[in-house]
């Protein structure tokens, strides 16, 4: 049914163009550069018209259009300087420059239709953190093809690691380790947040291995359920951990959560000599910028690891297992070890992201680690395109933007434009509250993407082929362990 619908739309499109003298053969006879330019100009014009009529116009929209065209149209891939193929770095470098400069031009952007505003700085930090987590989950789901429904456990573990080692939670102890930028005289463990990020990552990776070792032998859907079980147990430990097993030992401070957690910082000495902030919170309203640039650096690191690992021996082993476990085992790939590495790598980035986010929010609350978060991260990976780094980044940014800022905007836009007589839209005698249906919207995204385009919006070609041509999907048990 899905194929038929898509085919019908596309054939209607070509018939309409054929009337104007442009049939399919002729279009495909044009040079790729011309085709790409025509498509890009078409989309940019549509976007500009939408902003003009449904958004709030601002001349920056022209600059926006120019940047998009400049990025998409020219054939950068072909640029070679002295034998070095620098071309493939031009677009990533440009995107990075745009991202780094974002705080400076954020205020002067035009308002979009439907989504209204470009993301605020605090939203950008959230988007960065969730991009890290989505890339981490991509190791497990995208590369190794294992469905993990409990990724939130790693996020929780990272956040609580930050809570334990960078707050006054254990106030009976008193240990400082490179706690630069933290107010002197606080009790409890206060490690440098940069150290805590690494510790959280490593601790979470260890947890990942511990979860993975017994369970990775299981078939895919059983593994999904077991990970879901761990994802439910972890927050319950966090909720009930203020009096663990009746001993009175306060591990997690229960429903109150751990707060405040130290912000990152570079301390007075570096602050004085290099003009880096001694403590991010001292920056006041500009603190979000520092948090944003830091998370950008962390995301870059994650992208680097993702890209390098995919091409490594280990990454190729993951993909081989995903495509055909039996053949991979026959080729001598140790299944258990390889899968466990995927798990540990994914968990590591989840832990680092969780610790950083806890440091940004300044707290770790058990309520924020429920199953819904696992599904949100899964939606990011699936919407963008499993296994494709750029797809996952796009999915994570878009979904987290919706989550934090976009859906309320969409709701007020809908109510403002389509509400009867200036009032809000009513459904079943209740005011339409779009953020309330957040997870329903994510559910629709999951179903529609899996039915219509299972390889995601920006697919990895290899993964797309698997979905469309099918793979040998029978798991193997006897050779494992």
């Amino acid at each position: 049914m899905r194929r038929r619908l898509a085919a019908r739309v596309s054939s209607a499109w070509w018939t309409a163009l054929g009337v104007a003298g442009l049939d399919r053969q002729r279009w495909q006879g044009f040079s790729p550069l011309l085709r790409r330019s025509v498509k890009a100009v078409l989309w940019v014009v549509i976007g500009l018209l939408l902003i003009k009529f449904f958004g709030v116009w601002n001349n920056t929209a022209f600059a926006l259009a120019a940047v998009v065209l400049l990025l998409v149209v020219p054939p950068y891939q072909r640029v070679v300087i002295r034998g070095f193929r620098v071309g493939k770095w031009i677009i990533p470098a440009a995107v990075l420059a745009i991202a780094v400069a974002y705080p400076y031009y954020n205020g002067s952007m035009p308002q979009l239709p439907i989504f209204t505003t470009f993301p605020m700085m605090s939203t950008m930090v959230g988007m960065g953190v969730f991009t890290m987590m989505a890339l981490g989950l991509n190791f497990v789901v995208g590369y190794a093809g294992l469905l993990d429904l409990g990724y939130v456990a790693f996020y929780a573990m990272g956040s609580y690691a930050a809570g334990w080692f960078a707050s006054s939670q254990f106030s009976a102890q008193n240990l400082r380790l490179g706690a630069i930028g933290v107010t002197p005289g606080l009790t409890g463990f206060h490690f440098s947040i940069w150290l805590v990020l690494i510790m959280a990552g490593v601790a979470t990776a260890v947890i990942g291995v511990l979860i993975g070792l017994p369970t990775l032998r299981l078939r895919g859907d059983y593994l999904a359920i077991v990970t879901l079980g761990f994802g439910e147990i972890m927050p319950q430990i966090a909720t009930n951990g203020d009096n663990l097993f009746g001993t009175g030992f306060n591990l997690t401070n229960g429903t109150g959560g751990i707060s405040p957690i130290d912000p990152p910082g570079f301390g007075n000495w570096i602050g004085h000599h290099l003009h880096l902030p001694a403590n991010y919170l001292t920056l006041g309203t500009n603190a979000d910028r520092a948090f944003y640039w830091t998370v950008l650096a962390l995301v870059l690191l994650t992208i680097f690891c993702s890209a390098r690992l995919r091409e490594s021996r280990l990454g190729r082993a993951w993909i081989a297992i995903r495509e055909d476990e039996t053949a991979a085992a026959a080729m001598g790939i140790p299944l258990m070890r390889t899968k466990t590495w995927a798990y540990a790598t994914g968990a590591f980035f989840g832990g680092v992201a969780g610790a950083y986010y806890a440091s940004y929010i300044g707290a770790a609350f058990p309520d924020s680690f429920n199953f819904n978060i696992s599904v949100i991260i899964l939606v990011m990976v699936i919407l963008g395109g499993m296994g494709n780094i750029w797809g996952v980044i796009f999915g994570a940014c878009f979904i987290e933007y919706l989550n934090l800022e976009g859906l309320p905007n969409v709701g007020s836009w809908l109510n403002g434009h389509f509400g009867p007589g200036g009032s809000d839209i009513q459904i079943w005698h209740k005011v339409l509250d779009v953020p309330l249906y957040e997870y329903g919207i994510f559910g629709v995204i999951l179903v529609v993407v899996m039915l219509v385009r299972p390889e995601g919006l920006i697919p990895s070609q290899r993964r797309a082929a698997e979905f469309h041509e099918g793979v040998h999907d029978e798991p193997l048990y006897d050779v494992t362990a």
Binding site: G145, R219, D221, I225, V226, N240, D473, Y477
Partner: protein
């Protein structure tokens, strides 16, 4: 491993005996609660096991179909029949029976529709694809419930009589618990009859064993799968009615929580195995009731979900075929 399992079971039995000696009457009361919970879980667990048996798919949305069944019955009982605290026995029986039929039919149709829309187009896709759409459907159903009833709890008035059936030696057994069994047991028996004795049941079993061979024998596989989803949904609807009337409040999240517990029960008993699902559900019902109710050495209700999921993980890791399942080459 058998050593550890034996130790675990022995420890659990010692705990139970200690509690029993401490207060036999109280212990029995708690056991009745466990039986009632277990009967309810059985209705939901059977839906998981039926669908898994035929498609090898964890129907994640099943718990939410159950939740919708609860909302349907709550609406039917309150808005249609206007039941409250004091009803004549006759009106109560009619109202419950009609609401039961309504919830079963509605949930059956919803479940079959879900299969048609979200699972059938993906039957030849990689195995994780329908699991992902199942999660999506689960969220969609929850949001339908939010749109319909709002995000808060939907309260159901006291409908079932809470008078005593009998009371001896400090042990009391109330009508509401008995009514749960009166609704549940005939539904379970009807299911057994359907699967074991009827032509349609034979088609279901054949499709579960080998879909291609069943198709070659002239069985309409798609129709049989739709029928299985219909039956599973109807069971969930019955469970929803029982839940709404017995616990008297229901919530869009209820189905997800209870669905996971019921799925654990199905895995515990051996997924794909009908008596196993009932046995597993009773076991989980007792474990939950004992954990939450018994006074001595119990972790308490804060840890119920952790205990249930730990059981799930241990079973899947060490005995994926469950209590009654057969060991297959795939391990379950």
């Amino acid at each position: 491993m058998p050593m550890m399992a034996t130790l675990l079971v022995a420890g659990a039995i010692a705990l139970l005996v200690d509690n029993f000696v401490h207060g036999p009457a109280y212990f029995t009361d708690i056991a009745f609660i466990g039986l009632t919970n277990g009967a309810l879980y059985a209705l939901v667990a059977l839906g998981y096991t039926l669908v898994y048996g035929i498609l090898e798919l964890i129907n994640f949305a099943h718990g939410d179909v159950f939740m919708l069944g609860g909302l349907f019955s709550a609406t039917a009982v309150v808005s249609w029949f206007g039941l409250g605290a004091h009803n004549s026995t006759g009106s109560l029986i009619v109202a419950i029976f009609v609401s039961l039929l309504f919830a079963m039919v509605a949930c059956g149709l919803i479940n079959a529709a879900i299969e048609r829309v979200a699972y059938r187009p993906l039957r030849s896709a990689p195995r994780l694809a329908p699991l992902i759409t199942a999660i999506g459907m689960s969220f969609i159903l929850q949001n339908v419930a939010i749109a319909w009833k709002g995000p808060g709890y939907t309260a159901v008035p006291f409908v079932l009589p809470s008078s005593q059936v009998f009371s001896t030696h400090g042990i009391t057994y109330t009508w509401e618990k008995l009514i749960v069994l009166i609704v549940t047991v005939p539904v379970l028996l009807a299911l057994v009859y359907l699967v074991q004795k009827t032509r349609q049941g034979k088609a279901m079993r054949a499709t579960a064993q080998d879909r291609d061979a069943a198709a070659m024998m002239g069985i309409d596989v798609n129709r049989t799968i739709s029928f299985t989803f219909l039956i599973a949904g109807a069971l969930a609807g019955a469970g929803g009615l029982v839940y709404a009337l017995y616990y008297r409040q229901i919530h869009y999240d209820t189905g997800f929580r209870l669905g996971l517990i019921a799925f654990t029960a199905a895995v515990f008993g051996g997924i794909g195995n009908l008596p196993g699902a009932v046995l597993g559900a009773l076991a989980i019902g007792f474990i939950q009731a004992f954990n939450e109710g018994l006074p001595l050495h119990m972790p308490g209700s804060d840890w119920t979900e952790s205990i249930v999921f730990s059981i799930l993980i241990l079973i899947l890791v060490f005995r994926p075929e469950g209590l009654l399942g057969e060991r297959t080459p795939e391990g379950g």
